[in-house]
Symmetry: C2
Subunit: 329 residues, 2 copies
Amino acid sequence: MPRASEAARLDVLCIGNAIVDVVAPVPEDFLTAHATAKGTMRLIDAQAAETLYAAMPPGIESSGGSAANTAAVAAGLGIETGFLGKVAADQLGAVFRHDIVAAGVRYPTPPLADGAPTARCLILVTPDGQRTMNTFLGASVAFSEADLDHDLIGATKILYLEGFLFDPPPAQAAFHAAARIARAAGRKVALSLSDPFCVARHRAAFQALLPTIDMLFANEAEITSLFETSDFNAAATAAREAVPLAVLTRSEHGSFIVQGAEQAMVPAAPAEVVDTTGAGDAFAAGFLAGYCQGRGLAASGWLGSRAAALVIGQYGARPRVDLAGLAVG
Amino acid sequence: MPRASEAARLDVLCIGNAIVDVVAPVPEDFLTAHATAKGTMRLIDAQAAETLYAAMPPGIESSGGSAANTAAVAAGLGIETGFLGKVAADQLGAVFRHDIVAAGVRYPTPPLADGAPTARCLILVTPDGQRTMNTFLGASVAFSEADLDHDLIGATKILYLEGFLFDPPPAQAAFHAAARIARAAGRKVALSLSDPFCVARHRAAFQALLPTIDMLFANEAEITSLFETSDFNAAATAAREAVPLAVLTRSEHGSFIVQGAEQAMVPAAPAEVVDTTGAGDAFAAGFLAGYCQGRGLAASGWLGSRAAALVIGQYGARPRVDLAGLAVG
């Protein structure tokens, strides 16, 4: 029986792969040499990760994961936020846990005791600021229905799920279970499409899922891939018909947000482009924070634009500044 | 018997603590709350590190260690460089090894198999860009004479030792042994004083060491502490008499370099101050690279100033840009 009238304990609960990023600048031809498609995410195994890491320049490590980034930024913007996702009981897992908890996010998932190490994403940043991601999922694949906190999901206004969860089968099962729990409690379910290749891998499943989704987050490459069109406007129209609220980002061209008859076009905020890792995640966080605080579509989108601009101007996916000023701006 | 006439295989071999930095921005009052003296380095044990880490905001991890930073930057500037220092066989140790090898530094020290984890330094960056360091030495304390590569030391033009090596007793013994090997081979020995508190801890030992040192690197706080004076000019005069070559840095006031009757005053290079972690290490690297390439004192110092400016403008101690352009400039 829906219980949406009960007071929610969290504004947003994000579920996704729990990943530590290894970010390094590379020249353009590094991508060609290592056969990785610019601007996208691909999955690699432990051996490929070792080989690629050996070829990479010196980097920095910082906590990542798409939905985890969104949770961290949303918490910084002042809404009550949680995250579910699996790390291992190792040093990088401790780094991930520290960073998300220190960001103010509730993070109840226990670490994986024996098994693969904490997931890492080798992120190659080209001189144009584009990031190309190579993910070794590690312990993330062990996230399963057993890790779902039913009470917490039932007491959260918006359950936010990243599309990347569709890659590991147990996580995909957990995705569906979490969405069922949220719906049964009368809560909203949000989906981020994550990556155009991820959409291509799971297109039919994502399309089948749309009738149960309340909020859809996607960039241009993802939404056009989902609806198999090269025309953004056609994709946006399809999104409007498919979900009650669609938040569509277009990099430096800003975002297009549509909720039934209402819509907003929001510009990108000025940014010096250093590394676009996490820009979409931060945008989603800003939008969710604004939305939960009762702002309109345009104002929520603008908060998203400004949060994205902050992470674009630095290496790493999570802003290293106090976000409280943004939230009241 | 001195063998300096043999061709050297390395220009500079650095020995120091092998550390991964955890860098996070904090407000000024965080330092007061955690009783840590701004701009300095203090040693903490595993328990204190855990407590401080739990209180710290989200951070980034990047390879550090004073002499290791110098080695990485010097290699980027085109001279043949090596590093000796101890990490553990763990994830952060693998990060340290990857980064220094990827920077072009020869790094033959095997990891510590069973024992303390890789050293980490919790670096608190205040809004003025100052860094305050809290070091858990971990596996670094296991560096000992057994880790010295006699042939490599004998075939290196300049052995560069960080003062921080005086903190762990086995490393101090290795320090002395390495210097003896270098001198016996007719090579030069350089010492970086590292930190004013480190100087205060080991002042008598450092003073006793000076007659055997060919090049001394220090900042204003360190050199005045060494000679127990509050007057920089008095300290500089004492340094000129104590060592053949002294390289003294004064933050935004540039550097003063003195070699017998010859001296140079070098300005700081323009920089947007984000995080001063590694500025002194990068300066030393630039100076050493210029010196090994046969530049004069002023030109070598200016290369140091420009290398330091690069790391001051970012979070983390090692520049995330190709340094080849600096070296030919």
